[in-house]
Amino acid sequence: MREWGEFFVDKQEKKQLRRIEDEFGMTPDESQIFRDYLHECKEQGERGTKNLKGDFTDDELRERAGECLGRDSE
């Protein structure tokens, strides 16, 4: 009961996302918007091609970041 050990947290997708956010010099406020933006993209059927879950590749994340923030990476 109430064991923690089995709850694996998949950190790879999160680290990939933060790497791209850092490329764009995102602030924490912008990161929060960007993550919600990506979630909405998936919800609206604009899925990524990285895997069957519809996650985004690096290039897809860069493209979405440009759309969301209206600027290129630094």
Binding site: Q12, D36, Y37
Partner: protein, 197 residues
Amino acid sequence: MIGTFNPQEIIEPVEGMPWLLNDCLQQLIGQPFLFFRETYPEELTVHFGTPMQRAIPKLKDRPRGSFVLSVSGSAWHIASGENGSGWFTRSGVIDQNSRSTGTTLTVMEKQQIVRPGSVVIGVETYIASEVPGFGLIVDFSDRSRMVLKPTPDHDVNDGEELLPDWELLTPNARFLQAGPGLKWAYTPSDQPRKSLT
């Protein structure tokens, strides 16, 4: 009660000092719980305070709270005050007899695990034992409790930045980042975040 801590203060990256981290968190006390929300990539966020609309058209139906807690690299449990026998986790509902029902975060958003309008009556960090880092306990007025616990990162490449254990955006244009490890910082949310790795 916030005590003597000024929520607009800036605290550059420090290590340890749990008493100061707890002082910093007291600004959550009295804030109403708004909703749980999944964000990319399948991460739980908890929204408190006042709902705020977004300027981006794609997010017009997706307001945020004035405080946003992101679980980031932590595992989490939520004990519902409405249904005290259930502990909700990323994987679903846990009770003494069953481990998981496979509830997704999206489904969880629609369940009243914490009664809307409940306010935060307690918030406290603790130092996790298995993985060095700050855990977090949030208590709500409907007797619900949320617990975050740092988890290990088994797949770290050379030079790779480690994830924080949890993060809190505040309405004071400040951003609290806890972890990795016992490092934390409380810095402006409108400037690029600092690596604590």
